[in-house]
């Protein structure tokens, strides 16, 4: 297997982009990535998108986007694993370059979520759950994570305030990110008084509905050296699956797929969790970030809430989590999130993160998750 480098990143501002269609959003970010990499020719394209079919009625997406990017006739594929479609696209692109099958691969993620009503979007997102035995009963994603929160609070004593602190931290970080959908700060009281979505989760515990895209350009690491770019390598990639339904999980308070994917990625990179300088994780809901920090081994099982309270995962903490603002403040255009996490890590490793820069960052980890943990994809990226 060859070493793989990320030589270009591209992302435009995320939000409710009424004037822009899915194709426009994707192409804009892809062009930024190509320009950043200084390349025009690509060998292949991988697109992560959860459901262009349900959101805009469009399938055959990769072909459409290669057309609109002006890259016909390159091979193009769309991959899907619900909210980890972006991370999965990154993994597929990585495999293509590592295997020698392709040299320059464009990996993009995109989701256009505002062309449908709120109820329709909630339904579309709900298709990441078990349609016949969870969705049929009226469950939504906030509902599923709320049930995980109730179980976590009951088992470990995690509190509402600790969950709210995740939102406070991520909004604080997001306020320093010019591309974030919601670059404003929030307070614990603000979170706890915001409107209920699925008890005990409130609107400020939940990542928003967002339009957005992100893209990266991958190539073999020795070619990156020849191009005189800072060589940022993907040194580890791990993916794992778990039961689709929350009720089938062995432990509803533990995300096993993230634990396994994390172990695989770190082992491939030859690293331990303590070697990592920053983490971009899947905080679709505040409780998710708490459980992810436990599953990755940043903290002990059950201590995720306490860790956030103690500032362990803040920008200046020992294990900074979501310096970009996370899904919570940056936004969560589903298929794009996994790629945007890599964009942030690359920025940090290049020293280009301005106000939110983690000093001396050399190694970063991205963790992208689908559903309630039915899929997890983890990557480790390192600067020379």
């Amino acid at each position: 297997m060859r070493d793989v480098a990320v030589i270009g990143i591209g992302m435009t501002k995320w939000g409710e982009l009424w004037k822009k269609s899915l194709r426009t959003i994707f192409v804009e970010s892809a062009l930024l990535a190509l320009d950043d990499a200084g390349v025009d020719h690509i060998d292949s394209m991988v697109v992560g998108c959860m459901s262009s079919g349900l959101f805009v009625g469009q399938e055959h997406l990769a072909s459409l986007l290669s057309d609109y990017l002006g890259k016909n006739p390159v091979p193009a594929a769309r991959v899907e694993s619900a909210c980890s479609s972006g991370g999965l696209a990154l993994r597929q692109g990585f495999i293509e370059v590592a295997s020698g099958m392709s040299d320059i691969v464009l990996v993009g993620g995109v989701e256009k979520m505002t062309d449908v009503t709120g109820c329709e979007a909630t339904f579309a997102l709900g298709t990441a759950a078990d349609q016949e035995y969870e969705g049929f009963h009226g469950l939504t994603f906030p509902g599923l994570y709320a049930m995980m929160a109730v179980a976590h609070m009951h088992k470990y004593g995690t509190t509402r305030e600790q969950m709210a602190l995740v939102a406070v931290k991520n909004h604080d970080n997001g306020s320093k990110n010019p591309l974030a959908q919601y670059p404003f700060k929030v307070t614990v009281d603000g979170v706890l008084q915001s409107v209920l979505v699925a008890d005990p989760l409130r609107i400020l515990d939940c990542s928003p509905i967002t339009d957005g895209a992100a893209a990266v350009i991958l190539c073999p690491a020795d070619r990156a050296k020849k191009m005189k770019k800072p060589v940022i390598r993907i040194t580890g990639s791990g993916q794992a699956t778990d039961t689709i339904a929350l009720s089938s999980r062995k432990e509803m308070t533990w995300i096993e797929s993230t634990h396994l994917a994390g172990q695989k990625a770190l082992s491939m990179a030859g690293r331990k969790i303590g070697d990592i300088d920053l983490f971009e994780v899947h905080d679709c809901f505040t409780i998710a970030e708490i459980m992810i920090t436990e599953a990755l081994g940043i903290v002990e099982k059950g201590r995720g809430g306490k860790a956030v309270e103690e500032g362990l995962t803040s920008l200046k903490g020992k294990f900074p989590v979501n310096p970009s603002g996370g899904l919570k403040a940056k936004g969560h255009p589903v298929g794009a999130t996994g790629v945007a996490q890599a964009v942030e890590v690359v920025k940090q490793l290049r020293g280009e993160a301005a106000e939110r820069q983690i000093k001396g960052a050399k190694r970063g980890l991205t963790q992208n998750m689908g559903g309630t943990g039915g899929s997890s994809v983890v990557h480790v990226l390192e600067a020379e």
């Binding site: 709120g118 109820c119 329709e120 909630t122 339904f123 709900g126 016949e132 035995y133 969870e134 969705g135 049929f136 009963h137 009226g138 469950l139 939504t140 906030p142 509902g143 709320a146 049930m147 995980m148 109730v150 179980a151 009951h154 409107v195 209920l196 979505v197 699925a198 008890d199 005990p200 989760l201 039961t243 339904a245 929350l246 009720s247 089938s248 509803m252």
Partner: protein, 130 residues
């Protein structure tokens, strides 16, 4: 609008709680499956779910998906049934304030939703306090 076939196929589970038990490790699959997720065995015997249990967790959905727009707010929970199987369903006939982890529940036949004024009516099970 899906064809009624999709729901009709699940009637033995939704109406009668029919499940299947792995002949090798005893795992109870609800709904039935072709492969045991615990041991990989492909042989099963027919069984039925127990109809009582205790709530392991719950929430109250306030922002509903289509086609539950008319029903919010409603409670949903996961209960461990008397036979060890964990099941997800709405919790009804109960004040929200009374919902507690560990609450005893029983399965009751209820309407899940309708496809508008003219469409099919979908029936199934919900939890009620025991």
């Amino acid at each position: 609008m899906p064809n009624p076939a999709k729901a009709w196929r699940e009637y033995p589970q939704r109406y009668r709680f029919e499940a299947e038990k792995c002949t090798k490790c005893g795992y109870v699959a609800f709904p039935p499956r072709l492969v045991c997720p615990q041991c990989g065995n492909r042989k099963f015997t027919k069984t039925k779910l127990a109809e009582t249990g205790k709530l392991l967790t719950f929430t109250i959905i306030r922002v509903p998906p289509k086609p539950f727009e008319d029903q919010a707010p409603y409670a949903v929970g996961i209960a461990e049934l008397a036979d060890g199987v964990k099941l997800t369903a709405q919790v009804v006939d109960c004040d929200f304030a009374g919902l507690k982890v560990g609450m005893p529940v029983r399965l009751e036949f209820r309407k899940l939703y309708e496809e508008g004024e003219a469409g099919v009516i979908y029936y199934g099970y919900k939890f009620v306090p025991e």
